[in-house]
Assembly symmetry: C2
Homo-oligomer: 657 residues x 2
């Protein structure tokens, strides 16, 4: 069947072809000195209806009106006719227009002899969108700008067309202009024009693409999209609800595709991944977003070490070369070791200052508060040593540290300074025997000038306390000019052997999952699930980067009976809501496991952004608002009717449409 | 800083290394006749803490417990020791286990001499998950299975381990077993094990990856994720609502990232794409899904022809080679031509049977109903000719066609059969003059044996009517065994020059956008926007494949004044809700345009699936239910409280948790 080509089609095709020809013609023109019009006419004449598809150029100027981007012209382009499109970055000396696009800047020279061009120049406003046609030329000697990649050339304008005039803006689009976060969010489309945000978004796109290549091409993963309109999960208090048109029935926006990824393994998909949009309604938490993206991975017939090796390979493959290489395999410590050495399950291993257990030193102490601490269940005396802390920390710093101990953990903190002669300066020191001092210095390795922070209480408190103070000290030291943490370093770290269950807060005797109820126990501990669940380690692994959790995963329970036992007998959950999953496990579920990486967090650490908002195109404020469009917004009662809901207490302020 | 490697780490690393070694060892073992245990021990001994990262193998068995997939063994593997993991597809003759994974089947032979293996075999159930270790060997001569890619070999089992026993299933996992759609959906994890669904999901993943490569690597596009928790758009009656924790305020799940993609252009992102999850609450429409995926594309400094060329290149690049090549450029017709020739704006161009305007033939007719039709405004008489229809169509077929005309369009249909001698058989024929007959046959090209379907009424009715009957005839003809539409053909077609505005249904004098209010007018018609808006053609383009719309896009309005005029003066919208977009257009918005391709629909056509549900891993039923988990589900009043909503009329049935 043939379809008549329309005049419109002919016209649009011709335009395109003319455009392609234009670039060729421009080049030819320069070399062959044929007038442009003649060449363009020739192009038009030689056009036939069948545009050879392979003739489309590639790269950032393909199928575009421009001949070059604003960042690509170099001295070798001198003499070429070009068509540039971009934003007016600066206007200089009534002579120059500095044109910007995402790729860079180009200086455009308006000849003072051209009255009409000068008139246009006079009316130009910064950030207006213009088209410039002209000829590339080397800048006169001595006028090159070495700070600008295109600084050796300029474009002598033959024509300048204003495509859109920019009104007065709320802030200047200059990287050095500081703007408040609220203003940046309200005018996000302007904020995104900054070099930094352009780079962040582009890096994110490139990293994602590299990750996909690695998973698809190198390891046979299948990208599967799973639903976001799902059923509320047990304990899913942080799930957004979506009313349906059936009275009383709601979808739920899931926090992760956990159930679906496991069901895909039961379905024999073998290797699944997805850049999954996830939702979490946490109200206002700093640097959290109600929707976020995780790189979601699941595999069948794999063990913990296999998933870890895959992730290491994934990061190595996708890591931007400009950030330096990653040493592999990543170090790996157990949860117990992390808590023992760093007082945290996501330790920042870019610096030392580990926790030291000094209980042994005081095993026979007479000092009352130490003695009483050691007497309690799991009582312990621990210290961290701040190198040169005596000099670095002022008394208000020490007060701040003590205040943290007091307000967050309800504990007193003892501070001991090591004097040049090796004695300790502290209200405590008069109670210390020489052997106490010797023991303290020996265990902590403290040297003259150092500061010892000592806390004595139960292990469950003293470790997180000193873990937090360790980080607070690091910040204080850096504020005093000490380069404690190499700002270019990326310290990845695996944490393994987490407990599978934890005592439920506020409900003595009850247990909850440390991560989620689908995590399998470590093989050696499997029998303890039935006898001593608190002793069971889970096959869970967390990936930590520079002290932030960037990923977590586990080998899952793949047998229905085990899963039922955990849900019903240990966690006392209503199993009916997960009956489909239990049935699936009973239908030939393979051994499987996976991981999810927090993409927003990972990228924000890579680009050293202060917030994940800096790597998300349109983030919400910390109150969950879109400051640009004012979402969430009021909805009329009329619009709520189809969903059989109405707004209740407190008296609702509704806006009629 | 060094982190102490734990015993656990050593163990898991060792396991992995052992595994890698295992594969090597197996190969070595066969060649060198060393006992396996000795070799594995050597591997363990030679393992050091630093696993060289580059040693990880690639492909579908990387970081896995298996040595090979079930689809890859060939005669050249004979003699190799292998470890296979998979599902029991068949059990045959108390001797064979046919093992399945996503990649294929392998026959495993259980020696009758091995008592323990035979015992396990006796207890095996179909679809259980097992691990088999054994040796590959050629099948005895004459026992090869040429229908099976692995049919030349079998694996002589040395061990068989049941990893998970499968209970009795609701249906057999055999491609030939027919299941009801409801049952397939309830047990989707079993349904996905079928060869067809595995292929569909994998093809979808591969196609997406190819599209991404084309956009990122060849044309400099940036993958940007945009929010799905947004603000209700004007007229967004089909948008799901998401209650927030602020009383009366709701997010909305958008139908597309339209506003965000335009804002990204204002932000200077230049070329954006996203595989965007979109939401549309349409209640129960057949073959629609409440959430779906579109390939969302937007570019700056581009014209209509540029976007069309990009999409043609995108499809050519990503098109699976096994589906045959795509001829390019795609044909392109105007909306007027589509309506004139096919009575549809998404014509199926795989077959002829175009609409023919036969008004001229009857311009002086005395036949009352024809005369009266021509007398009305835009009255027209039109026909389609069904080749060989006289023989093919039974009277009940003709009744069905007439019923469609009557019930859907309120019109009578005249049917005329062409007799062998060239006269017409019809109740109408006694009124037809010889010149009428001659004119009819001449205009329609009808030949003896053909059938003419004639309708006379206003153009706005007669075209859609015959357009619909044209498709109904095609189905009837195919049901009678005529190969009208090549089942392997892919007919892409562009439709352009749509009207920009349409009269608003039920509101005389009011206008609405034919597509959306952001579409720019065709340049030549731009002045008519202020004077005769109904005459304005929009720079909108639809991509049609085999009669289904698979994409649509436009060049957008980039000037605030024009956009304001359209929203305020023409569409009478409340512009305050779009003030952020208008402000953005005033802040240096570049000319821009884009397109969105419906990924689910496109893939379903590619794999010739009867429904888009066949290319979505976990689709909803046509009532919007997840039949596996029973979403949407009832939520307790308690869980609604944080959102300040309650369920209203009709009396809500609520389930307490």
């Amino acid at each position: 069947m043939t379809i008549r080509m329309t005049t419109l089609l002919q016209r649009t095709r011709l335009l395109l072809r003319a455009h392609i020809c234009h670039r060729t013609a421009i080049a030819t023109s320069v070399q062959g000195h044929l007038p442009m019009k003649t060449i363009l006419k020739k192009c038009y004449l030689s056009t036939n209806h069948k545009r050879p598809a392979s003739s489309s150029p590639m790269g950032p100027c393909s199928v575009s009106l421009r001949s070059h981007t604003c960042g690509e012209l170099r001295p070798e382009h001198a003499g070429e006719k070009v068509a540039l499109y971009g934003w007016v970055q600066y206007l200089r000396q009534d002579l120059f227009v500095i044109l910007r696009d995402y790729s860079g800047l180009t200086q455009v020279l308006i000849s003072q002899d051209d009255g009409s061009l000068n008139e246009k120049l006079g009316e130009l406003t910064v950030e207006s969108v213009v088209k410039v046609t002209g000829t590339v030329r080397r800048r006169p000697e001595g006028q090159e700008n070495t700070n600008m990649p295109t600084g050796d050339i300029e474009v002598l304008a033959e024509n300048l067309e204003v495509l859109n005039t920019c009104r007065k803006l709320p802030f200047e689009i200059k990287d050095f202009v500081k703007k408040s976060e609220a203003l940046r969010m309200q005018y996000r489309y302007l904020d995104l024009r900054s070099t930094r945000m352009q780079q962040n978004l582009r890096l994110r796109s490139q990293l994602s693409m590299r990750m996909r290549e690695y998973l698809c091409h190198q390891h046979g993963f299948v990208d599967v999209e799973t639903p976001t309109l799902f059923k509320r999960t047990p304990g899913g208090a942080k799930e957004f609800l979506v009313p349906s048109r059936e009275p009383g029935r709601f979808y739920s926006l899931p926090q992760s595709p956990q159930q679906f990824k496991q069901l895909l393994m039961v379905a024999g998909v073998d290797r699944y991944f997805q850049f999954a949009r996830c939702y979490r309604d946490e109200g206002s938490k700093p640097d959290r977003q109600p929707e976020f993206t995780q790189v979601d991975i699941e595999m069948s017939f794999v063990e913990q070490a296999g998933v870890m090796a895959l992730v290491e390979g994934l990061l190595r493959y996708s890591w931007p070369p400009e950030l330096g290489g990653l040493s592999q395999p990543f170090p790996c410590i157990t949860y117990s070791e992390a808590m023992r050495d760093y007082g945290s399950d996501k330790p920042d291993t870019r610096f030392h200052m580990k926790l030291v257990d000094i209980s042994e030193v005081f095993v026979n102490t007479k000092i009352e508060f130490l003695k009483s601490a050691l007497g309690q269940s799991e009582g312990s005396i621990q210290a961290i040593c701040v190198p040169d802390g005596g000099r670095l920390f002022k008394s208000k710093d020490l007060e701040a540290l003590k205040e943290t101990a007091r307000s967050v953990f309800g504990q007193e903190l003892s501070v001991l300074a090591v004097r040049p002669e090796g004695t300790l300066k502290s209200p405590l020191s008069k109670h210390l025997s020489p052997s106490d001092t010797e023991g303290l210095l020996g265990e902590t390795g403290a040297r003259p000038g150092d500061l010892l922070l000592v806390s004595a209480c139960s292990l469950h408190t003293v470790r997180p306390l000193l873990g937090k103070l360790r980080l607070q000290c690091a910040e204080l030291m850096e504020a005093r000019g000490v380069t404690l943490r190499d700002p270019t370093a990326f310290h990845f770290l695996w944490i393994v052997d987490f407990p599978l269950f934890l005592p439920k807060e506020g409900e003595p005797g009850s247990l909850e999952s440390a991560h989620h109820p689908f995590t399998a126990p470590v093989a050696q501990d499997a029998h303890l699930v039935y006898t001593e669940p608190l002793q069971v380690r889970g096959q869970h692994y967390d990936l930590v980067l520079n002290g932030c959790e960037v990923g977590g995963g586990s080998i899952r329970i793949h047998k229905a009976a085990e899963q039922l036992h955990v849900l019903k007998n240990i966690l006392k959950e209503d199993v009916s809501v997960l009956s489909h999953l239990l049935e699936a496990l009973d239908s030939g579920a393979p051994p499987h496991g996976g991981i999810a990486l927090g993409l927003d967090r990972l990228i924000s650490l890579m680009v050293r952004a202060p917030s994940i908002r800096d790597v998300i195109a349109f983030p919400k404020s910390f109150r969950g608002h879109d400051l640009m469009s004012q979402a969430p917004d009021y909805v009329s009662e009329e619009d709520l009717k189809p969903y059989h809901i109405s707004v209740t207490w407190p008296p609702a302020k509704t806006e009629e449409k």
